[in-house]
C-alpha cells in the first residue's frame, strides 16, 4: 500500500532510474496526481491515505506507469539506424559469400541457390527496393516529422556498400565474369535507374510512415 502522493513519486523516481527526461516527467506526474487527489478527496471526503487506493486503481502502480514510459524509450534513432545498416550489410555479405562459393568452391547447394536467384533478377530487385521503402516507412512511423535527418543519414550510410560494390565492378576489381549471367546491359541500366530512385522510394515510405504514425 502506498500511503501518499510523495511515496508514489519516490517509487516512480526509482523505477524510472534516471531515464531520459525523467525529471520533467516526474514534475508533470506530480502536478497530475495533485489535481487528481484533490478531485478524489473533495468528491468523496476521503483523506489522502484512503484516496490513494482509488488514485492507484485509476493511474496504475508506479512500476506500471514507469514500464509504459520506458517502453516508449526502447526505440532510439541509433538502434533504428543500425538495424537498417546491418540488414543491408547482411544482404551484401550473403551475396558476396554466395558468389565466392559459387566461383571458387564446388558446392552443389550454393550452385543451386546461385542459379535460382540469378533466374529472377527483376524479382530480387523489386524486393530490394521494398527494403528501402521499409527503411523510410519505419523511420516515419516511429519518429514522424523529426525523423527526416535520421532518414537522410541512415539512407546515405546504408548506401555505402552499394556504391562500393558498384565501384569495384565498374573498375573491374571484381572480375565481371563473376556476375554472369546477371551483367547484361539492360540489367546494368536497371541497376543505375534503381539506385537513382532509391531515395525517392525511401522518402515515399517515410511520408507513408508519418501518416501511419498517429
Amino acid at each position: 500500500m502506498i500511503p501518499s502522493k510523495s511515496a508514489y513519486l519516490n517509487i516512480l523516481k526509482k523505477e524510472l532510474n534516471n531515464s531520459a527526461n525523467s525529471a520533467e516527467l516526474l514534475q508533470e506526474i506530480n502536478l497530475h496526481l495533485t489535481e487528481l487527489l484533490e478531485d478524489i478527496t473533495s468528491s468523496t471526503n476521503k483523506k489522502e491515505e484512503e484516496a490513494m487506493a482509488e488514485l492507484i486503481e485509476r493511474v496504475g502502480t508506479p512500476s506500471e506507469l514507469a514500464s509504459l514510459y520506458m517502453e516508449e524509450l526502447q526505440i532510439t534513432p541509433k538502434k533504428t539506424q543500425w538495424t537498417f545498416i546491418s540488414v543491408n550489410l547482411l544482404f551484401f555479405i550473403f551475396g558476396i559469400t554466395l558468389t565466392a562459393i559459387y566461383h571458387l568452391v564446388s558446392f552443389p547447394f550454393a550452385n543451386q541457390v546461385w542459379t535460382f536467384l540469378t533466374s529472377f533478377p527483376s524479382l530480387i530487385m523489386i524486393l530490394y527496393m521494398l527494403f528501402w521503402g521499409l527503411l523510410g516507412y519505419e523511420i516515419g512511423k516511429e519518429f514522424g516529422f523529426s525523423g527526416k535527418n535520421l532518414l537522410y543519414k541512415t539512407f546515405y550510410i546504408t548506401l555505402v556498400p552499394n556504391l562500393l560494390l558498384m565501384g569495384l565492378v565498374v573498375f573491374r576489381i571484381i572480375p565481371l565474369g563473376w556476375f554472369d549471367p546477371l551483367l547484361t546491359q539492360p540489367f546494368i541500366v536497371a541497376c543505375i535507374l534503381c539506385t537513382i530512385i532509391l531515395y525517392p522510394i525511401s522518402y515515399a515510405g517515410y511520408r507513408w510512415g508519418i501518416i501511419h504514425s498517429v
Binding site: S146, S213, V214
Partner: protein
C-alpha cells in the same frame, strides 16, 4: 466500456483533435475527454503520457511550461502545423472508415448482431 485496442488505436487522434481546439495540460485533457465522451473514454495516465511524449517526439505537438498565478508551472501541449496536417488526413480516414462500417452494419435497419 469500449474495446481496449480500439480506444488505444484512436487515442492519438483524439488527443490531436482536443489540442487543435486549444492548448491543454495532461490532467485537463483527461477531464475533457471524459466530459465529452460521457466518461466512456477514461484515458489512463500510463497511456496518456507516453502517447503525448511520442506525439511530441514526432513533432506533431509541442510542449511548453506556463507559470500559474497560483501554484507551480504546468506543462501545456499544443498542436503544430505538421500535426494539423496529420489531423486533417486522419480525420478524413476515420470518417470514411466509420461511414463504411455504418453502411455494412446499419443496412436493413439491424441494430444489433
Amino acid at each position: 466500456m469500449f474495446n481496449r485496442e480500439l480506444v488505444k488505436g484512436s487515442t492519438s487522434l483524439l488527443l490531436l483533435q482536443l489540442l487543435a481546439e486549444k492548448d491543454m495540460y495532461g490532467y485537463e485533457i483527461v477531464k475533457e475527454m471524459e466530459k465529452r465522451s460521457d466518461k466512456a473514454f477514461q484515458v489512463k495516465e500510463g497511456t496518456l503520457y507516453p502517447a503525448l511524449h511520442k506525439l511530441e517526439k514526432q513533432e506533431v505537438i509541442e510542449a511548453y511550461w506556463l507559470d500559474q498565478q497560483k501554484g507551480p508551472s504546468r506543462k501545456y501541449y499544443r498542436i503544430t502545423e505538421n500535426g494539423q496536417e496529420i489531423l486533417r488526413q486522419k480525420t478524413k480516414e476515420w470518417k470514411s472508415f466509420v461511414s463504411a462500417i455504418e453502411k455494412v452494419i446499419g443496412r436493413n435497419g439491424y441494430d444489433s448482431v
